[in-house]
């Protein structure tokens, strides 16, 4: 009986810590994350809140280095359209920063200019500078406050909380943005439409 009480306390302590933590928790610090049975209970409790447990791999990608909690995939879809206090310019800047570091830098391995130079050089569809001066400063502040970017304008820790399904969704959005006429983009649109139709039918 005492063990059960202890287990319950360990599970709740781990869930609370996950929900409060700003970075990955190590299983050696939180017994419920190290025990397979208790870890399943943690998963279940998080699911009840619209959240899920996200293992964080080490740099080699071979072992779990820690755990975060994040939105469940269902909740992520549900709240994606909710007002977040971010404005259109903020999202445009975030997209440019993500493209700069993740796609040009990490995926394509290009030699990158500082991101601020890249933003200065960016011209909107009208040929005019898109987001400059105070407007840009305010946008960057809003993105930093949400941990979407770091103080040096790199993708922030909030993006590390994406589940595989959420990262796939983001990658697909980039295809839709950059290659809207590609057959792959058409396939993405069709699969999303089918998903929406399926949800409406149930």
């Amino acid at each position: 009986m005492d063990d059960e009480v202890t287990d319950e306390e360990e599970v709740i302590a781990a869930v609370r810590a996950l929900e409060a933590a700003d970075g990955p928790l190590r299983s050696r610090d939180w017994p419920a994350l190290a025990d397979a049975r208790l870890c399943q209970l943690v998963v279940h409790r998080l699911r009840g809140l619209g959240r899920q447990l996200l293992p964080v791999m080490d740099e080699a990608g071979s072992a779990v280095a820690g755990y975060l909690s994040t939105w469940s995939d269902e909740a992520a879809h549900d709240i994606a359209g909710a007002l977040s206090g971010l404005q259109e310019d903020d999202l445009a800047l975030l997209t440019l920063i993500y493209l700069h570091w993740e796609i040009l830098g990490r995926v394509l391995g290009e030699n990158l200019r500082p991101v601020t130079e890249q933003l200065d050089a960016y011209e909107g569809s009208t040929g005019r500078d898109a987001i400059q001066g105070e407007s840009r400063r305010d946008s960057l502040t809003r993105l930093r406050a949400r941990q979407l970017i770091t103080v040096d304008n790199r993708p922030g820790p909030a993006l590390k909380r994406l589940t595989p399904a959420q990262r796939t969704w983001l990658d697909q959005n980039l295809v839709l943005l950059l290659r809207p006429d590609h057959t792959w983009a058409e396939e993405i649109r069709q699969s999303r439409q089918a998903r929406v139709s399926g949800m409406e039918a149930t």
């Binding site: 709740i12 302590a13 869930v15 609370r16 810590a17 929900e19 409060a20 933590a21 700003d22 970075g23 928790l25 190590r26 050696r28 610090d29 939180w30 409790r45 998080l46 699911r47 009840g48 809140l49 619209g50 959240r51 939105w71 469940s72 269902e74 909740a75 549900d78 709240i79 909710a82 977040s84 206090g85 305010d138 502040t141 809003r142 406050a145 949400r146 941990q147």
Partner: protein, 181 residues
């Protein structure tokens, strides 16, 4: 998990995301039970100026504290300037002789200038407009900044610490004597 369970989970996710929801938008009994199983708590707070009651997601007992020793728990803290701005805004909102439900940016900046003899526009304005609302500590109403859902759901130890800080400001010789707003 049943469809009803899913709906409760989504309601709690919306509550966490928004900071607060109209109490009527939440299946309260189920949400309260689900939150309790995770060491959290859903409380109902009165709306501002007679508005409908709101639900706020908070913690059972005290909020988990960050720790740099085992068990290691990394937590983001408010930047120092945002904390200073929060202390001043909270002291203005809770000043027993003023009975304010909201404070303006001008009032907060003026008090900081009185207390420190320095302009605070460069750091207090971003704290008021970005950091504190994002943290759910303040909320912008027509008449100014009011206590946000997180401030209204502070646990007793946090409330005591902030009340102590406010009391020290009220006793400061430069604390504004203008009353009732």
């Amino acid at each position: 998990m049943t469809a009803q369970d899913d709906e409760v989970a989504l309601s709690l996710a919306r509550l966490r995301r928004a900071g607060w929801l109209p109490a009527s938008d939440l299946p309260f009994a189920q949400a309260e039970e689900r939150a309790a199983q995770a060491g959290r708590q859903v409380i109902i707070a009165d709306g501002e100026d007679g508005a409908a009651a709101v639900a706020v997601l908070t913690w059972q007992g005290t909020e988990p504290a960050g720790s740099k020793s085992s068990p290691w728990l990394p937590r983001r803290t408010l930047p120092a300037n945002a904390t200073k701005t929060l202390v001043v805004a909270h002291a203005l909102l809770t000043d027993p002789l003023a009975s304010r439900s909201a404070v303006t940016q001008v009032q907060v900046l003026a008090v900081i200038r009185l207390l420190t003899s320095r302009d605070a526009d460069s750091w207090a304005v971003p704290a008021l407009q970005q950091v504190l609302p994002q943290a759910g500590l303040l909320i912008l109403l027509d008449e100014g900044w009011a206590a946000g859902p997180v401030m209204r759901a502070w646990d007793p130890p946090t409330r005591d610490v902030m009340r102590h800080a406010a009391r020290r400001l009220w006793e400061h010789p430069m604390w504004p004597v203008t009353r009732h707003g």
